[in-house]
């Protein structure tokens, strides 16, 4: 019985630890996609946040300033994505991919430049844990409720959703569509970057490309969660639980390869429509140009 309790609590802790970085990125993804901009660049934004959060934390000796640095760096990545997609009206997916490649190269370059030619560095000053988790975990859960309220209760959030559904209608109603879209994509970068910054503070060191595909899984959580913060949170928890089970139980019970593909299978099933109806924002990925007349 005692063993059972330890097992459950271990599973619970690992699940939350795994889902937190996904959650931040997924919330960012929701903001961006709710405004109609596909954000496949979450991976790169996370990586940027991981580097900036870790490096600035090391340089200033304060992890909270590190997080602020991550937010700033992520916002810049979001801004680049926004300029590409909205101002230059580039293909959103291509811009996102460019962000990912750019972030990978840039973080390696900067790590080598600042940490004598190496591709990793140690985090010197860590967060004090509250219970089994670092504070970011709790902030993430809090954010789910804040964003849920924001998108469905607060006028600003409703307008944001309108710009992703039918921008022309929003425009006619006097909403500054471009401004909303820009803010959403920038915020998306900032949130993904916080998720990224969680990684070095959890693991104790930054390593090149340490986001290791988490941005894509977060994107899967966005879709599986039907572009809704609460449901995306549940999606992240499911992915986290799958991973925690894979880590806890021996390979003979569940093959690890199967667990690894689980998030993607669930996403495909969600997209095909077996679990409720998957309804992306109506104008997702479509360029919008204000009509001057």
């Amino acid at each position: 019985m005692n063993n059972f309790i330890t097992l459950i609590s271990s599973l619970f802790i690992i699940t939350l630890q795994t889902s937190t970085p996904l959650l931040f990125a997924a919330l960012g993804g929701i903001l961006s996609e709710r405004s109609g901009v596909i954000n496949i660049g979450l991976e790169g934004m996370m990586l940027t946040g991981a580097f900036a959060g870790g490096a600035i934390g090391v340089l200033t000796g304060n992890p909270w300033i590190g997080i602020l640095g991550a937010i700033f760096a992520g916002s810049i990545m979001g801004l680049i994505h926004a300029v590409f997609c909205l101002k230059l009206r580039a293909n959103h997916v291509i811009s996102g991919l460019a962000i990912n490649i750019f972030a990978s190269g840039l973080t390696i370059f900067l790590t080598q430049a600042f940490f004598n030619g190496e591709r990793s560095f140690e985090i010197t000053k860590r967060f004090t844990s509250i219970g089994p988790f670092i504070p970011l975990v709790y902030i993430g859960i809090l954010l789910v409720f804040i964003l849920q309220g924001f998108l469905y209760r607060i006028p600003t959030g409703l307008r944001l959703r309108a710009t992703g559904e039918l921008p022309i209608a929003a425009d006619t109603a006097g909403v500054n569509v471009m401004k909303y879209k820009f803010m959403a994509v920038i915020a998306s970068g900032a949130l993904a970057a916080i998720g990224g910054a969680y990684l070095p503070y959890f693991a104790g060191s930054f390593t090149k490309d340490m986001s290791a595909g988490r941005g894509y899984i977060a994107l899967a959580a966005v879709i599986f969660g039907n572009w809704n913060p609460g449901r995306a949170f549940i999606a992240c928890l499911i992915f986290g639980l799958a991973e925690a089970m894979q880590m806890t139980f021996s390979n003979s019970i569940i093959p690890s390869q199967f667990m690894k593909m689980l998030p993607y299978i669930i996403t495909i099933i969600a997209l095909v429509g077996f679990i409720g109806k998957s309804t992306p924002p109506y104008s997702l990925g479509k360029p919008y140009e204000k009509r001057e007349s």
């Binding site: 190269g105 591709r119 959890f202 693991a203 390593t207 090149k208 340490m210 690890s256 690894k260």
Partner: protein
Amino acid sequence: MKKLIAFLIAGVLIFGMISCSPPSDPNSKPTPTTEPGEKIRVGLVLSVGGRGDKSFNDSAYRGLVWARDRLGVEITEGQPKQMAEDENYIRTFAEEGYDIVIAVGFLMKPAIEKVAKEFPNQKFAIIDEVVDAPNVASLVFEEHQGSFLVGALAGLKTKSNKVGFIGGMDVPLIHKFEVGYQEGVKYTNPEAKVYIKYTGSSSDAFHDPTKGKQLANAMFNQGVDIIYHAAGSTGNGVIDAAAEKKKFAIGVDSNQNYMRPGFVLTSMVKKVDVAVFEIIKEVKEGRFKGGVHKFGLENDGVGYALDEYNKDLIDQKMKDKLEEIKSKIISGEIKVTNYIEEQKNK
């Protein structure tokens, strides 16, 4: 205005992409075009993990630096960002007529095979893999022997009779570590249970310390008290977890004892640095030979690390036992399974 922004951003992006092209070492001088053959030039292509993994790549780079300082050769290192770039780096070095091109890591086998055929007069070396070509020296390590030793130590040291192994990418080379380790544990402690996990099945698995730490936490929660990792910089997370839970980790490739003093029991050192240095020396002295070069317990190519950071963790009795096992492996009294050769014979 729009165009200007577009140009600016494109410029920044391109900068990001080329910032990792060879030569990426800020200290390396541009390749001289005059006096060929006067000074030996060495091109070293690191594995995707790159420098700073405190492990495999850092060890290779150390060997390169030794060669520069002691043999006076000229060195350039390439750090591919992803596997797809390996071949470009190798080819660039070969085209520029470097005296030897060293590929660090088993992932580069196909690239070396291909380029070695195109440049039959160029000398190559590859670490951790065997490439069958007259102009390629294959530097392989008897990791199973070193892993057996640290496994034996884990078997002696464990209090819970549960020890763990965390591998990086799930490939035969890493299984070689795992199998040797298991046999070592069983040799000194037949009762002990060995928990085994792999981080993943892509090369991402070698640079995911977050997952490494979670895997280690999951094992420690199950009562494991010593974890041996063979996972590149993913292992940084394993070592961090050990320090947090006040348990032990065993480092790999480089001596990692210093990373969290008191919590790294020992490290299975694989002297990639020695191998890199030796092969450069052979080139310099004009006695380079293709074929397989083995580095094992016998010629000190692998071993376990003992230094001021872990001297309090290993008592004299354990040390004596390890030395005894070591000499038995060298004499052939103890046979350690070499997973890779085993697979070939199947």
